[in-house]
């Protein structure tokens, strides 16, 4: 049990020894992204190799370093503090790496970069200079890892390592302050909710605090459901204690005695890591009765969701915790007035909670110094889609879309033009390339008809059909509508059907105003955020890419070559070398032709999957 600062400091000492063992340490990124790329086998390979070579390196796991397209990522942490990161490590490379380590060779040819935190003193020695500093990589140059400070550094299952990095000192600080001062600090920092709506966190807390009621609750919304978004998952997997600490600080400020972390059950690893972190925190008295020797008591429960997207909506989430079907209800009363079990309840999302300890340790001024006037701090995005560098990125608010897409993301994977980005998942909207100089902050994004959202950012290339994308998101929201509101249940259904009609080449000119009318109706007459924002993908694509819709309905043509009914693939006989690459790649056996003679595609068998286009070396295959 930790009852005072000295004991906390002692735990930190233990953590520092574990983070920086004199004998060196190899850490493997074992968040979901790493594991999906084979990190488990790599870790085992490293362990065996270290055994075989009788080396003293410890092996441990860590959270996501962000550079997901380079997974599995492995870091060798030398006894002297040098950190070298290796990308795309497989079992073979793992052996090679360890073999080199035996001779003191850090295998610079295999390394991605040298990792050096700003806080660490710059190293000028030749051993270090053999590697590029991580901030010399385009992916990391514009990033500022604050929320993700511990992801990729600490073992998420080690509370000691978390404490070694300053963990729980924010809570210790908070407990010396009055709740009003904490709310004031969070308010001055300018933190706004990271779940998407951007409501000022300090104000939200103040509302819950001033509600009468002897028992109050708070909730961490970890029901991250947007397709392509995994910020919260990564934080929970890589740094669960940061969230718990943030919640404890919030609870003290609001006067809550109970908290829930509501995680999607589809995040088994996050669930497991949170569960273990909660166990540790309770065991050490960082949660429970009389936290850190104070009179403050607070406990946190873990609740796994049941797969409904709408449970990310706070009132549906509360219903789900209470054991009812996750369905939104009207507000007011707002959860701050009558939430979980009727108690005043404060709901914030994972990233918001993870920011809170930072504000307490580094101060409101530091936090407010990052970002723009209206949007302070950093924002974590999951950068996916047609980007070259997909991964988890954290950038200061105010960076432009262009900087994010081209500098951090490195442009499109195929080097082609980037057409747009989609932010905010099915609730958000697209930002066309022409508006890429828009700064990323809550208000600017809203100004161009998109939204910050929780941080999913999908890069769209020339081969993305905007009508098809809108159809994709509508299918998602239609399937996830809870069904209460006719506008949402039936409106999204009818919108989807019109979109299907258009993508299947049966659309008519009047379908476009019909879509707009439906979109307006769904937006106005739905109860919750799901319904109110469901039309956004359609509205923003109609606004910025109306010509693509028009091409579908007027010319029966899909400019991106995606909508199968409107596309016929053909091979330009002038260009075709007859190499057979397309024939080999075709899963349908639709391509035939003699070697070194122009090939042809049987349109009946072709499913327009695009494999031939990818395979062709001379761009002879074209949709049209």
């Amino acid at each position: 049990m930790i009852t005072n600062l000295r004991e906390l400091e002692r735990l930190g000492e233990e953590g520092r020894r574990s983070l920086w063992p004199a004998s060196g340490k190899i850490v493997v990124g074992t968040a979901s992204c790493g594991l999906a790329a084979g990190a488990q086998a790599v870790a085992q390979g490293l362990f065996q190799a270290v055994q075989e070579h009788r080396l003293a390196y410890e092996i441990s796991g860590t959270g996501c370093l962000g550079y997901c397209s380079q997974e599995p990522l492995v870091e060798v942490r030398c006894g002297d503090g040098l950190r070298v990161v290796y990308a795309q490590v497989n079992e073979e490379r793992a052996d090679e790496l360890v073999a080199g380590l035996e001779g003191g060779d850090l295998s610079p040819e295999l390394a991605l970069c040298r990792w050096q935190e700003e806080a660490q003193p710059a190293r000028k020695d030749p051993a270090a200079e053999a590697f590029p500093h991580h901030q010399q990589l385009g992916f990391y140059r514009r990033q500022q890892r604050a929320v993700l400070r511990n992801c990729g550094l600490i073992d998420p299952q080690s509370v000691a390592e978390y404490v070694a990095c300053g963990g729980y000192s924010g809570l210790a600080t908070a407990l010396t302050m009055s709740p009003e001062d904490i709310i004031g600090t969070v308010g001055r920092a300018g933190l706004r909710g990271r779940g998407g709506a951007g409501f000022p966190t300090g104000r939200k807390w103040a509302l819950a605090r001033k509600e009468p009621g002897t028992r109050k609750s708070l909730i961490c919304n970890a029901d991250e459901g947007d397709p392509g978004a995994y910020m919260d998952r990564s934080i929970l997997e890589g740094d669960p204690h940061a969230v718990i600490e943030g919640m404890a600080i919030g609870a003290y400020a609001i006067g809550a005695d109970e908290g829930y972390i509501y995680v999607r059950a589809e995040y088994p690893l996050a669930v497991e890591r949170v569960r273990e972190a909660l166990r540790q925190a309770k065991q050490l008295g960082l949660l429970g009765e009389g936290i850190l020797g104070s009179s403050f008591s607070f406990d946190v429960h873990l609740m796994a969701g049941a797969g409904a997207f709408v449970c990310g909506e706070e009132t549906a989430l509360i219903a789900s915790i209470e054991g009812r079907r996750g369905m939104p209800r009207p507000r007011p009363p707002f959860p701050a007035q009558a939430g979980l079990w009727g108690r005043p309840t404060n709901v914030n999302n994972v990233e918001t909670w993870a920011n809170v300890p930072l504000i307490l340790t580094r101060g409101a001024q530091w936090f407010a110094g990052v970002g723009t006037d209206g949007s302070k701090g950093t924002k974590v995005f999951s950068l996916v889609g047609r980007t070259q560098n997909s991964g988890l990125v954290e950038v200061p608010m105010g960076i432009t879309v262009r900087e994010l897409v081209y500098e951090v993301g490195g442009g499109t994977a195929d080097g082609g033009r980037c057409k747009a980005v989609q932010t905010g998942g099915p609730s958000g909207g697209c930002i066309p390339e022409s508006l890429f100089d828009t700064p990323i902050d809550f208000d600017s994004l809203r100004g161009v008809g998109a939204m910050m959202g929780s941080g999913g950012l999908v890069v769209l290339g020339e081969r993305t059909c905007m009508v098809d994308m809108a159809r994709y998101f509508l299918r998602f929201t239609q399937g996830e509508s809870c069904g209460q509101c006719p506008a949402c249940r039936l409106g999204t259904k009818r919108m989807l059907e019109v979109l299907v009609r258009i993508t299947e080449g049966r659309g008519e000119e009047q379908d476009l105003p019909l879509l707009e009318e439906l979109a307006e109706g769904v937006r106005t007459a739905s109860l919750c955020g799901l319904g109110r924002t469901a039309p956004n993908p359609v509205l923003t694509t109609l606004r910025h890419f109306r010509h693509e819709y028009e091409a579908h309905v007027r010319d029966r043509r899909c400019p991106a070559g995606v909508c199968r009914a409107l596309v016929v693939y053909h091979i330009d006989p002038e260009r075709c070398l007859g190499c057979g690459a397309c024939r080999t790649a075709c899963p349908q056996g639709a391509i035939s032709g003699e070697p070194k003679k122009a090939h042809t595609i049987d349109p009946e068998r072709c499913v327009r999957c695009g494999a031939c286009i990818e395979a062709c070396l001379v761009e002879a295959v074209r949709p049209g």
Partner: protein
């Protein structure tokens, strides 16, 4: 602006409404109907359908959720409002029902009305590109038809089920376009905890939920509506019968216009049964043969005169009826007293709330429910004991559910784990027959911990010292020993009840049907006075009366010791008043009680018995004894609507009109006098009981000439102070709660507000004596009896309703799993239940709801009659009620060859 109100303009009309009124209701005040599907005034708001959109000062708002604000300018039609409504309706109708032409709801369908209003003659979302739901109608239960294709998913049924009935049977299933209203796992309703109250279909705005039996009977526009009162329990629900071609097609109404139970909504078809009594019957050579009124009444009058001539008026007795109207009960006792000259008149209240009438009269001066049903919702703490409210008084149970939903604490004291125990804060599980002990124990703790209301007791009550002395020995450990209720639970209950701002006692037969019945009632009254929980809204002592008009039958003097209005027979002035009015002497001696009448018949001192709408063969204790008594009579005349088990023994059987076939009034458990209205002609030659009584009396030489029951009520009002202000003209609305002493008296919802009826409330010391027939080695189980939701009393009516009979077709004995294994029984096994008086063979039902060491038998079933087991000779000394709730039995498995 008036105080507490806001003034606003709606479509140019100025209205003033109370603060907090939703715009939708404010618009009603202005005579404007704002379309809506999901909103219902008695349910929480869902805010989902989107139809009620209006403009408030130019901004869109939901009229169901937005409160009227002072000075605002509201537009309810035009422009984008109409566009949006049209779009929503078009979307709803893009997935339309296919049978609007043959839908029962046609004519009363909100969707249909709005489609017409917004001129939706075309739909852009129909055609091959657009999906429609395909779902067959479901009739997986006897009562409710569900047509998913007609469902607009407004969720009213879901909320009614949860918020009104506390059931949570209905919910949403599926997501997106496939969302539907369904029970858990989409199973049939009969496999859920559904009680078939039908609140779901009553609030359904489309035809998705409807009465099964109504299909293809008549269109809504062909129906004739008659306002009346439910004939089953004492809740006294107002009903509207909807008739076509002389048949009841559907039933609506109830409290808040829609709250009913399964019997009221689905249980009235018995009136149309072929086996209704249609002609008078006279026994000839042992068999009942059809007769004329002339002959039957002539014979009856002759025989009565002969018996009176030979044995005196004391050889004649009458059992009046808690099912008949106030007017009929009044005439019955008038006939007995004035025409025949005997006070031997009683009715089944003897077997239910006689101890209440006796006990509360002693303590407070008035033996009835002190508060009203709706008033229970005002309580912050409710103590329910001896009442399986969800089954016996479902509408009162709704009030309890709603109160608990709003945060009221609930204490249940019952040997069985009744359904209310599932939502109770404390469940005291006393052993049967030990109620005085735990009630005294509560008083002990309340006094010992200083939780009592000193000011109230000092100002309003007397004889506290007697109570103090009496409850002194009932320490929590003694109570635990006597009753099985733990020290901790007893203290918790005492603190909750005494500490509440407004606490109410709700009780029923579990308190009264004991040899200590009156003592139990007095102990309850003691607690209410001690804590000051009486005489205010949300407090009180609330005995739930079992029959539709048992309150009225008592009020109107169908009792051997009192005349109408509880005016004592023993009071010479009272007798003189009635004698003057009636033109006949009122006999001096109090008469015999119901159980004593049967005893006297068996013993030969009662020679003639008139029975109006009662069935003692099934409802009186000790069935063998009752049979012998009926067989010993020289004259048994039965007036009833069906040939009952008792009628089989009758010399003369007279066919009566049912509740739906006559005018009159019923008085509900909350003392509310309400109008019953004739909706149908009686079958065959059947006559209203009041007419039969008039004809008989006149034939006996005592003329009764009333043209209509209203004239009888006028006579009642002139002689009965508590009914003094009641007249048919004043009963057109919601009825009146007595005391209503003068034509301008508004009636009384809460008794004893300023002072008790008797002046000061009086504490009565009572002591625990234990059950009259405790279990022993030969008869090791304590038997309790009671009701089930789907049946009523001797089932004369409910066994003739298919759906009700289907739900619970036969009797059973409920036992605890431990006892089941001790007696080698399992659910469904045939079992013989034997007491010292008789035995029955029935089916075992093994459940943890039973207390170990007890058995429960519902008393409705003649073929497994609880009254074959119960005792008649152990009576409460004050009220003469038999101990129907506690006798000793043994169980044996029945092996069939």
């Amino acid at each position: 602006m008036s105080s507490g109100g806001v003034e606003l303009t709606i479509d140019g009309i100025r209205v003033v409404v109370p603060t907090g009124t939703p715009l939708l209701e404010a618009a009603r005040e202005a005579g404007i109907e704002i379309p809506h599907l999901c909103y219902h005034p008695a349910l929480s708001s869902a805010g989902t359908c989107g139809l009620c959109v209006v403009e408030v000062d130019g901004k869109l708002a939901q009229a169901c959720r937005e409160a009227a604000s002072h000075g605002s300018d509201v537009r309810t039609e035009g422009g984008r409002i109409g566009q949006l409504r049209r779009l929503i309706l078009e979307l709803i109708l893009s997935d339309p029902p296919r049978d609007c032409l043959t839908c029962e709801q046609a004519g009363s369908c909100d969707l249909q009305r709005y489609a017409y209003r917004y001129q939706l003659d075309a739909n852009r979302f129909l055609g091959p590109d657009h999906e429609r739901r395909e779902a067959a109608p479901r009739e997986d239960n006897p009562f409710i038809r569900y047509e998913p294709e007609k469902c607009v998913l407004c969720g009213r049924c879901v909320r009614a089920c949860a918020e009104i009935q506390g059931r949570h049977v209905l919910g949403y299933a599926g997501r997106g376009f496939a969302t539907e209203v369904a029970s858990a796992f989409r199973g049939p309703l009969t496999e859920t905890s559904c009680e078939f109250c039908g609140q779901c279909l009553a609030v359904c705005p489309s035809g998705a939920l409807s009465e099964r039996g109504r299909r293809f009977t008549a269109g809504e526009w062909e129906l004739q509506a008659v306002q009346t009162v439910c004939p089953f329990c004492g809740c006294g629900c107002p009903l509207t019968l909807h008739l076509a071609e002389g048949r009841i097609v559907r039933v609506s109404g109830g409290r808040d216009g829609f709250r009913l139970c399964v019997k009221g909504r689905f249980g009235l078809s018995f009136v149309h049964r072929e086996d209704r009594l249609r002609v008078p019957l006279v026994r000839r050579q042992g068999a009942h043969t059809a007769s004329s009124w002339e002959e039957a009444l002539g014979l009856l009058a002759d025989k009565l005169r002969a018996i009176r001539g030979r044995y005196g008026p004391q050889a004649i007795a009458g059992l009046s009826s808690a099912k008949c109207t106030n007017e009929e009960n009044y005439l019955f006792q008038k006939l007995m007293r004035a025409a025949l000259g005997t006070n031997h008149v009683d009715h089944c209240a003897r077997l239910c709330h006689a101890p209440t009438v006796a006990g509360l009269a002693q303590a407070f001066g008035s033996g009835a429910m002190t508060n009203s049903i709706d008033d229970i919702e005002e309580a912050t703490c409710i103590l329910v004991t001896g009442s399986n409210t969800t089954e016996a008084h479902p509408i009162v149970a709704q009030a309890i559910f709603r109160a608990v939903r709003r945060g009221a604490r609930l204490i249940v004291a019952d040997p069985r784990r009744i359904e209310l125990a599932d939502i109770a804060d404390v469940h005291l599980r006393q052993r049967p027959g030990t109620d005085v002990a735990w009630l005294n124990g509560l008083a002990h703790v309340i006094l010992a911990e200083g939780l009592w209301d000193r000011a109230f007791v000092e100002q309003r009550c007397e004889d506290l010292d007697a109570l103090r002395e009496a409850v002194e020995p009932y320490t929590p450990d003694v109570v635990e020993e006597l009753t099985g209720v733990s020290d901790a639970d007893l203290r918790r209950a005492a603190r909750l009840y005494a500490g509440a701002e407004r606490a109410t006692f709700v009780y029923s037969m579990g308190i009264t049907q004991h040899t200590s019945g009156t003592d139990n009632v007095l102990a309850v009254a003691n607690l209410a006075m001690l804590t000051g929980h009486i005489g205010r809204h949300g407090t009180g002592v609330n005995p739930l009366r079992g029959q539709n008009n048992v309150q009225g039958a008592c009020d109107l003097g169908a009792l051997p010791n009192v005349l109408p209005g509880y005016q004592r027979v023993s009071d010479p002035e009272v007798r003189a008043k009635f004698a003057r009015a009636w033109g006949a002497q009122v006999p001096v001696e109090s008469g015999l009680t119901a159980v004593e009448i049967v005893d006297a018949a068996r013993a030969g001192s009662i020679k003639a018995l008139l029975v109006m709408g009662e069935n003692p063969m099934v409802t009186h204790p000790d069935q063998r004894h009752v049979r012998e008594a009926l067989e010993a009579l020289d004259l048994l005349a039965v007036v009833d609507i069906f040939p009952s088990e008792t009628a089989e023994f009758a010399h003369i059987v007279l066919p009566a009109a049912s509740f739906a076939e006559k005018d009159g009034t019923f008085t509900s458990t909350e003392r509310r006098v309400q109008r019953l209205r004739r909706a149908l002609p009686p079958p065959g030659q059947a006559l209203p009981d009041w007419e039969i009584l008039c004809r008989l009396s006149t034939r006996l030489g005592f003329s009764m000439a009333y043209g209509h029951p209203r004239e009888i009520m006028d006579e009642i009002a002139s002689l009965t102070p508590i009914y003094g202000g009641i007249s048919y003209a004043r009963l057109e609305g919601e009825g009146l709660q007595w005391p209503c002493t003068s034509p301008d008296h508004p009636g009384t919802s809460v008794l004893h507000q300023q002072a008790f009826t008797r002046g000061k409330g009086r504490f009565h010391p009572v002591r625990h004596h234990g059950p009259s027939e405790p279990p022993d080695a030969d008869y090791p189980l304590a038997l309790t009896t009671g009701r089930v939701l789907y049946h009523f009393h001797s089932r004369t009516m409910t066994r003739r309703v298919g759906g009700l009979q289907e739900m619970v077709p036969e009797g059973y004995v409920e036992i605890h799993p431990e006892d089941a294994s001790r007696f080698k029984l399992e659910t469904g096994a045939l079992v013989r239940v034997t007491s010292r008086r008789g035995s029955i063979v029935t089916v075992a039902r093994v459940t943890g709801r039973a207390q170990e060491g007890t058995a429960f038998v519902p008393f409705h079933f003649a073929d497994a009659a609880a009254n074959a087991l119960t005792a008649r000779d152990t009576l409460d000394p004050d009220s003469k009620i038999p101990a129907l709730k506690a006798c000793a039995v043994r169980l044996e498995p029945v092996v069939l060859d």
